[in-house]
Assembly symmetry: C2
Homo-oligomer: 500 residues x 2
């Protein structure tokens, strides 16, 4: 038996176990070929990838180290007696191998795979193998099986039980790729003010400059337990919290750690990822914002149509009513990109000030209208009109303030980044295009969303006439190195096309 | 700039960089989404995966740690000033994405991918994505492109220049899966004694209980530089060295780190892996031993035929003459499994003692004969006869002793493992089958090849009559934990089928 030790290393999605090269109880070489090992103690066990520690500093020879996530998963205290053995491969890997070979998998096989992934029984290599094999080819039936397996693998929120007793729960989601498209923070208060339950959980950004959870966190606490969330939604009909806290479709979060770096974004995986989260969150009706543009995630209307049909097909099969709205994804929405700047735009729309970006406001009304149209008691096509009334009357602002208050204060005050650089038009003309992907990358390098006040403030959108030397946008950063990365990337290519 | 520090961690094929969570120069969060970072200093740079170090023990805040392989690749001393930046993704990944999407890749694209893999520019996730996409589907032309790209990416040995001036260089390879099949150590001295150049480089075992390099190391040094290898082959016409030292097809070694744990073994990948190594080693004529059996790597004659044709097709296109011999893969070859035990069998064959396993001897003669048959001056079909003469006359033993002497003493003396357990027949009857895979796994758990004296000594082969309680084989181990793992696995299922 070895003594358990916590090694303070974030290893990003992979559980790692550290064994000393000088261990006398176990010969590291004996394990070298097994890729995965099983660590057991006090009736608990986890699977992990083995790293061998050569010298003394990190680990003494008769200790067994676990990375932060592995230590948390095992749930034993430091110093606990643990043993090690070569891990038996997950049986579901046999199905992964057949999938690689071109076979289609049954719902049962997909459930077994997803259960093993959610339980951290797959190594990163194995997760990648599954994700890549799926992105080569999947039948619609497999997408249904995968979606329902993913929804089943974590927490499932219920809203039809006391105290809520909601028979209908609406939700919205944007497939992404358009910076600044922070409509949820306007849609939720409109819909909640109308009276439809909309318990919105959002992610933090993984590759974008801000997720809704990051931006909402500028205004309020988002780290809310299931119990408090139910209470808030019971009282206010809406919330805007961080989904990571409530463990919805955890296999999705794990699979994303390989999908994102590989830029794998097939329709099948998007549908399984989004719908599994929404089903787990207990939604019955869903509006999907699908921006289409040459630099957005969905690049053509043909692609959009295929994706829409897959959403509708799988949604219907799993009992979720879906409206897909194909929207403009040719340029960023609003002006600010990055948590503080986006929160500023959102509040300007809710407050109906003159600084409110019209495109953000109109998109929010469109989406909220589609959600209200799910209400059987509303006359057909009334939704958007009602949404506009609620927003412009200040009722949405009041609902937002109530939700903010219920969720609590933000964890820390956020300031706009003080390192600024204006990016200038190199020539006079008309803004012909803005590259969403490039702008997002620059904002990201500036430090968003980790640094809440970092990002980009856009001064000119597509169609605007600009003179040579006019500021197109301003980069904000809080840290020198970030500022250097972002300005260097903007100098290389600023993301704007100016036509004469 | 940060101070470079070597972190003594073996991270198995992935370069890892360690950054303190408390670093003031770089904000770890800013890098969290990039998956890969580039570390630069003194005009050198490497790509690596980022891990964040939470607490102080491992790394001070203004140091940058590198795992053992990453530190070696960068090649700078500890304390050197290094900087960090988000890595630009390898451009060749775009081709990987298209391969995942079902497209076929050009030779140029495959070369770019393989160059990046060999230069450690791919993360493990990216390598897995490429390997899995290739194993779903590859055209024969792609296999040719991949093979030649892999051969080009490392060292290429030349034998047609002074001092050797060989116009013809022969080699052999076994596709594997049959424990104890240690024919190379008999074939090389036979062929060298005949006078054909056979500069044999071998791998160490990755998932099997012994590679030829592991077994040869019981008898002689195998860690030989290119210059010494050329001198030895010039003088003795043969050698038996470790291929890892001379960097042949390094992309293959990297891809294997993901193929093995996933048990991906498609004909296309086997052909690219084996032929790239042989082309890089400078072979002009190659004999491939392809054992076929229900528990071997190649499981049916249909599979064997397909694989043989692919070998021949790709070999011919790349200027390598190939003879494929389909052999018996239904049970282990020889008696010993594990380095010391296999070396014992090999020497018994070379010494023509009564302990020499007949199956090992006959297989070696078959393969050596096929190699001699490449000699245009030999009458058709004479090869096997000549091989037998050379072996039985003691000329092969003399050649082996000369090669061993030229390569030098083994790095350490090896003893047979002293922890022994006989595995008994549970009933009387005839040995109907021996599971190669199971036997290999038990020998591996016993500690082979890391522990040279560990392994299995087989007493009864298929067709033998055994009485209940007779010893089928003996497990040898040197370390208690290994011994426990191996005996437990043998007790669960011993790998033998006894028919009444």
């Amino acid at each position: 038996m070895l003594q358990l030790k916590r090694v303070g290393l974030h290893t990003y999605g992979e559980n790692v176990v550290f064994l000393s090269a000088h261990c006398r109880t176990y010969k590291p070489k004996a394990f070298a070929s097994f890729n995965k090992v099983e660590v057991s103690g006090a009736g608990r066990s986890i699977m992990a990838t083995l790293n061998i520690v050569e010298n003394g500093g990190l680990l003494d020879p008769e200790s067994l180290g676990l990375s932060i996530s592995a230590f948390d998963d095992l749930g034993l205290p430091e110093g606990a007696q643990v043993s090690l053995r070569p891990a038996t491969q997950s049986r579901s890997l046999e199905a992964v191998r057949r999938k690689i070979g071109g076979e289609t998998l049954s719902a049962e096989e997909l459930h077994a795979i997803v259960r093993d992934i959610a339980a951290h029984r797959y190594s990163k290599t194995e997760i990648t193998a599954f994700v890549v094999a799926c992105s080569s080819f999947m039948t619609t039936k497999e997408v249904m099986g995968l979606t329902s397996a993913m929804a089943d693998a974590g927490t499932r929120l219920r809203w039809d039980t006391p105290p809520c007793n909601f028979s209908m729960v609406v939700d919205k989601h944007c497939v992404g790729g358009v910076p600044g498209n922070r409509t949820s923070m306007i849609v939720v208060p409109i819909v909640a003010a109308y009276g439809l339950p909309i318990p919105k959980t959002s992610s933090r950004a993984i590759t974008s400059p801000a997720g809704t959870a990051d931006t909402m966190e500028v205004l309020a606490n988002v780290d809310v337990s299931i119990e408090r969330m139910q209470d808030i939604v019971h009282r206010h009909r809406g919330c805007l919290t961080w989904g990571g806290r409530v463990n919805l479709s955890p296999a999705d979060d794990i699979m994303i750690t390989v999908e994102r770096p590989l830029a794998i974004d097939t329709p099948e995986q998007m549908v399984a990822s989004i719908l599994s989260k929404k089903i787990a969150a207990g939604a019955t009706h869903l509006v999907i914002d699908m921006p289409v543009g040459p630099t957005a995630k969905v690049r053509s209307t043909v692609e959009a149509t295929r994706l829409r049909k897959l959403f509708e097909y799988v949604g219907a099969a799993l009992g979720l009513q879906i409206t897909v709205l194909v929207t403009d994804g040719t340029q960023p929405v609003g002006r600010g990109i990055g948590p503080v700047l986006e929160a500023r735009d959102v509040m300007a729309v809710l407050r109906n000030t003159s600084a409110a970006p019209a495109d953000l406001k109109e998109r929010a009304i469109l989406l909220a209208g589609a959600l209200l149209d799910f209400d059987p008691s509303l006359k057909g096509g009334e939704g958007a009109k009602r949404a506009r009334d609620i927003l412009e009357s200040g009722k949405a602002l009041a609902a937002m303030e109530a939700i903010m208050k219920a969720q609590g204060c933000p964890p820390q005050p956020c300031e706009l980044g003080v390192l600024v650089r204006d990016v200038m038009a190199p020539a006079s003309g008309v803004v012909a295009a803005i590259d969403c992907y490039r702008i997002a990358r620059i904002a990201r390098l500036a430090g968003a969303p980790g640094s809440k006040g970092a990002g980009i403030d856009i001064f000119h959108k597509v169609g605007n006439r600009v003179e040579k030397g006019a500021a197109l946008y301003r980069i904000h950063a809080a840290v020198e190195t970030d500022f250097g990365f972002a300005t260097a990337m903007a100098e290389e290519l600023n993301g704007y096309t100016i036509a004469a």
